[in-house]
Structure formats: C-alpha cells, structure tokens
C-alpha cells in the first residue's frame, strides 16, 4: 500500500500553468498519476493538456473534482498563501515544492496548521513523494528510477533521495514509498512522523533514512526509532566533511550546541539500533545486507 499516496489519490496542481508546474504535472500524468485539477488565479476555465480543468481557487477545484492532494509550484512570495488556501479548502495532503520561502512566513504557516491534524504539509523546498506501486507521483523526482517494492525511503533532500532510490533499484530492491520532507529550517512534516507512517504500513519491511547536518530533527527521529519503530532502519547522515558554515554571532550555536554535527546524529542513530550506512555510496548495499539477514 505504501504511505501518503494510493490508488485513490486525486491530485490538484497549484501553479499548473507555470513553467515548472506544467512540466511536472505532465511528467506526473505520464507516470500514471491521476491529476484531476489545476489552480491558477485568473486562469479559471482553461484546460491543461486538454483533459485537466484549471480553476481560479482551490475551493472551486476541490468542490468540482474531489481533489484530495495538492502539489504546489507557485513562486516563493506566494507559496505561504497557496499552502494556507489548500488547507483552508480542506485538502488533507499538501506538498509544497517551492524553494526559497521566507522562514518567518513559514513560522506563521506552521502555527496555522498546528491545530489542523487532518491536514498534512510536506515541504516546502522538497521533492515531494511517490508511491511506485500505485503509479502515483506527486513531486519532481524522475519516475523511471523507482520500482514497486517493500522499502520505505525518507530524506530531507531531493537529489540525494534519488541517489538512494537509484542504488536500491539497481540492486532490484523496490520501494513502497519515497518521501523528501524538505531542507528548510521550518517544514510541515518531521522525520519522526514519516517513520511512524512507515512503521504502521503493512507493505513496508525496511526503512532507509537519510539525514543531514544541521538542526536536531535526526535526534528526535532516533528517539522515536528507539521507542516505537519495530522495523529495521538503515541510516545515512551526510555532511560529516562539510565545512562549518561561516557565521556571525552565537545565537544559533547556543540553541543547538554540538548536536547539529554529523557525529552527534550518527551516535544517536547507532544508540537507537539503526544500521549505519558508512558512505553515500553504500546505501543500496547496506539495505541489501539487512534484507538478506531478515530472510
């Protein structure tokens, strides 16, 4: 079955008439995704690719088409508005691909979403998510590198997620779902929440978890793994050799201390019982070895 997306997902694309929105709507449809509507304010009444109706608002699009997933491609100044509009229209799953949304805007959007547990935001600044078995692709990942299977992939990043998927597929290891949660300081869905979904998904046997330096979300994920995850987790943390950012002032360091560093994250994951992937070249091989042990 996989997580977040399935055969019943009906996709609405906000910004469908833009350059990136139209390109990826088309790619999603070619993959088999059920794109049912587009939204561009002022372009209501047009048809996209002769089959997908374009609406002026998310509210209209949902009422007319029953869309239940929104994929957002609008430029950074308008992305917070697009997210809240989709949430207000009752869309339960929103993926915001847009890169460069001001962080203080996202802080307010996060507060708006907090008392709405029936709305889940993935991103912003993320590749989106895909369920290969359901032929449903909501994002910008190249569809052809995926294959249906029983490994769940979660990462902060875009192309690094593709790297992980590429290595798995090359070894004949398919994926139940893949999710990139986004690289910004404030995002809609944390690692721990995606881990919970994979842990509960009856079609996922193993989780590949790709973290990065910065923040403390990997430590929270490690705590969740230790406490609740019963499935094996293979973990890669990238950025061990990245230079410490050039900085001015001390406030950030006071908040995170040394926990933003790769060593601290790897130690937390090891302590949680995760299988550590030694280098980015070993993602597929590590998953393969753990799967072989499981029999």
């Amino acid at each position: 079955m996989g997580i977040l997306l399935d055969e019943h997902s009906r996709i609405l694309v906000q910004g469908i008439t833009g350059r990136e929105g139209s390109f990826h709507a088309r790619a999603g449809m070619a993959y088999g995704t059920n794109v049912v509507a587009g939204v561009t304010p002022g372009r209501g009444g047009q048809m996209f690719e002769e089959t997908v109706p374009v609406f002026n608002s998310v509210e209209e699009a949902v009422a007319e088409t029953g869309a239940n997933v929104s994929l957002i491609f609008v430029p950074p100044p308008f992305a917070p508005d697009a997210i809240v509009e989709a949430a207000d229209a009752g869309v339960p799953l929103i993926a915001c691909i847009t890169e460069g949304v001001p962080v203080q805007d996202m802080a307010k959007v996060a507060r708006y979403l907090e008392p709405r547990p029936d709305v889940r935001l993935i991103g912003p600044n993320c590749p989106g998510m895909i369920n290969p078995g359901a032929h449903c692709k909501v994002g910008i990942m190249p569809g052809n590198i995926h294959m249906p299977g029983r490994v769940g992939v979660v990462s902060r990043s875009g192309t690094l997620t593709y790297e992980a998927v590429g290595q798995l597929t090359n070894l004949g290891i398919g994926q139940s779902s893949c999710v990139g949660i986004g690289g910004d300081p404030i995002i809609g869905t944390s690692f721990a929440e995606i881990l919970r979904l994979y842990n509960e998904d009856t079609d996922t046997d193993l989780i590949v978890f790709i973290g990065e330096i910065g923040g403390t979300m990997e430590q929270e994920a490690a705590a969740y793994i230790k406490e609740s995850v019963t499935k094996p987790v293979c973990t890669l943390i990238v950025g061990a050799t990245a230079p410490p950012g050039k900085r001015m002032g001390h406030a950030g360091a006071i908040i995170t201390g040394d926990s933003a560093r790769a060593e601290a994250k790897i130690a937390a994951m090891r302590d949680a019982g995760a299988h550590i992937i030694p280098t980015p070249a070993d993602i597929g091989a590590t998953a393969q070895a753990v799967l072989a042990d499981m029999g």
Partner: protein, 384 residues
C-alpha cells in the same frame, strides 16, 4: 546577508534603541577628526563581517585624536583575523569611531529562529560582554530562552519576564523592555535570521544602550527588502562566493583541489563525503540548484574553473528539474569559453541522461564517465 555594525546601529536607532554617538571613518584623518568631535577620547572599531573582533584586536580605546589616527592607520586597508574568519581574515575598509560608554552592567540579547520550536526565540543573559557560547556551555542557567509565538509577537509579559531574568533594577527595567520590543520589531520587519547585541549595557545613569550590533537578513526574503539589498558589502565576501551568490548558486570555497558541481544540497554534501573518503579533497561545495538553464550551469562551471586550486572537476548531476542535456551543454560552454583542458569526471543519472552523455562525448573535453558514486570517487583519485 550580513550587515556591518554601523549599518545595524542605524537601523537600531530608527527603531528607538539607543546607540552610542558614533561617526564612520574611512581614512585615518577622518578617524582623528571624529575623535576630536567626540571630545578627544573614543573607541575605534573595525567594521568587518565577523564576530570575535574584540579578542582579534579589532576594537581599541583611544585617548587622543592622534592616537585614533594611528589606530585607524593600523586598521584600514588591512585584514582582520578573528576566530570566526579564516586565516586570511576580512578586509577593514572603515572604522566606527564611538564615544566611550559609562558601563554599569553588561547584558547579552539575541533573536533567532529555533528549528525545534519552529519560530523565533529571544535569548538573554546577564553575562554580557563575555564569550556567550562559553557561558552557555559552562553555566546554562545563566542563559534565558524565551520562545515567541510568531502570530502574536513578543507579548509585554514576556518582555517583563526577560527583564526580570536579567536581574535589572526598577530604573532601567522599563527602557530595557522597550528595547526588547524594538529588537523584536527589527527582527520581524526586516526578516532577520539573527539580531544580536553583546553587550547591551546599562549606563551609570540607567540608560539602556546597544554597544554592539549584529544583524543578518535572511537571503530568501530579499525580494521584499530592496532597501536592505543596497547595504550589501561584497568586499567582505569571498570573491568566488560573491560571484556565485549573484547567480543564486550555493557555493562555499574549500581548501582542496577537486572542483565539484552538484545539483541539490544533500547530494552535494554526500559528494564531498565520498570525495573525502576516496582520499581526495574538494575545492568547493557547489549546489547549482534545480531550475538551472545551460547558462547558469556554465556560470557555475566557470566559477570552479576560475579557482586556481582546482586541478580536476567532478560533476555529479541527478537529473530531475535540471535535465542532464542542459547540464552537459552548460559544462561544454564553460570549458570552451575558459579554454580549459582539466580532467573532467562526469557522473550523470536521471532525466535525459543519454542526450547529456552524447553532448559531452562529442565534445573535445577530457572527460571520464562514471556510473556510480564509487566509480566517480575512483576516477577522481586516478585523475590526480
């Protein structure tokens, strides 16, 4: 985008935070005149985008206009090295000459975004004027953290609580709370990622004055702050990094010799890790971004080729938004324009990969293809 102390203090003053009387000087003579105007004594502060200036020797008290001139002559045109700069340091193009302050108490106050809280936090300590990270490590009780609801803003009771935790007397308590409010408005209205005052002082006559000012504006918000964009000082940035940032390319100059071009920050970090694991040292971090066209890729490659340390180039592109054929065209453009024959290791996957390899294969470049990260690392080692 970082601001200079004098620029940040102009903003502080506009929002009603008191700052010492000060005059910006870009020559030793101007520093002398400024000191004379301030009554013959002053503090001369090097204006650079780096913290740790005090310990780095960039702040000096002078007792006469002549001494100010001498100190400024030692500063202006030189580079200042602090523990927050690299070994080369950053150039001092001007000094801020300020009146001396009558310090009764020194505080630390900052605002930044806390990822865990998913919003702004105010950090305050009565241990101002010191190495605050040291205080946080050895005496964390001395640091107060106040999370702020972004929709509500800093509430009056929160400002009162911070003031009370700072242990202020009744006299300066009210102006201190006003300064905290002003600081929060500066943080939100200018989309800062950091504002920091160390020290915020209480004077002998109970005034609250910002002796220092650090202000960092979030780059992603610059589209709505054209006024702040004009305050950028490119001289404080690494030349190649400044060129990259003009083109919205994420680039960090490193010490090694392998020029790296990658799409995506995560994969770029992974590429550095793999290159290091292979025993080679990357010359840079470079994330060309998703929406790049061939000209942007060419600009990115040109930046790498302009770096004299670079003796080979590793391209790692996983085509998604950025298609491999576009990347390939950009790479060829740059190598031809720069007339370079450096060894080029290319690892490409994803959208339009065959077209991309064809374009590179048909070119005159000295190219080696790799299919996996492991092969790419081996090829990088061989090309040494």
């Amino acid at each position: 985008m970082k601001l200079h102390e004098y620029q940040a203090k102009e903003i502080f003053a506009r929002y009603g935070i008191e700052v010492p009387r000060g005059i910006l000087a870009s020559t030793p003579e101007e520093a002398r005149e400024a000191t004379r105007e301030l009554g013959g004594q002053a503090v001369v502060k090097a204006q650079v985008h780096a913290g740790g200036r005090g310990q780095g020797g960039g702040i000096k008290v002078v007792r006469s206009p002549e001494e100010a001139e001498e100190v400024a002559r030692g500063f202006i045109g030189r580079n200042l090295v602090t523990r927050q700069t690299d070994a080369q340091g950053v150039p001092i193009n001007s000094v801020l000459v300020e009146e001396l302050a009558d310090i009764k108490q020194e505080l630390y106050v900052a605002l930044t975004i806390d990822r865990g809280f998913r919003g702004p936090v105010m950090i305050a300590s009565a241990a101002g004027g010191m190495d605050i990270e040291e205080v946080a490590a050895t005496n964390p009780d001395n640091i107060h953290t106040e999370p702020i609801e972004p929709v509500l803003g800093l509430m009056p009771y929160q400002a009162r609580r911070v003031v009370s935790r700072l242990g202020l007397e009744a006299g300066p308590a009210r102006p201190a709370a006003q300064a905290l409010n002003a600081l929060y408005r500066i943080f939100t209205e200018n989309d800062c990622s950091l504002v920091e005052i160390n020290p915020l002082i209480i004077t002998g006559d109970d005034r609250v004055v910002a002796l220092d000012a650090k202000l960092d504006v979030e780059d992603d918000s610059m589209f709505r702050h054209s006024d702040l964009r004009e305050l950028r000082d490119r001289s404080q940035e690494d030349a190649l990094e400044a060129r990259a940032s003009d083109m919205e390319i994420a680039y960090v100059n490193l010490d090694g010799s392998v020029g790296c071009l990658v799409n995506g920050a995560g994969l770029a970090m992974a590429t550095l890790d793999v290159t290091n694991a292979a025993g080679a040292a990357p010359a840079n971090f470079l994330d060309v971004g998703g929406g790049a066209d061939d000209e942007k890729v060419a600009s990115a490659v040109s930046i790498i080729l302009s770096d004299p340390k670079v003796d080979r180039v590793l391209i790692n592109v996983f085509g998604g938004i950025l298609r491999c054929d576009i990347a390939a065209r950009g790479i060829v453009l740059a190598f031809e324009r720069m007339n370079s024959n450096l060894p080029l290791i290319v690892r490409m996957l994803g959208t339009n990969v065959d077209e991309g390899k064809e374009i590179l294969g048909a070119s005159s470049l000295n190219v080696t293809f790799a299919d996996t990260l492991t092969e790419a690392a081996a090829a990088v080692r061989q090309a040494a």
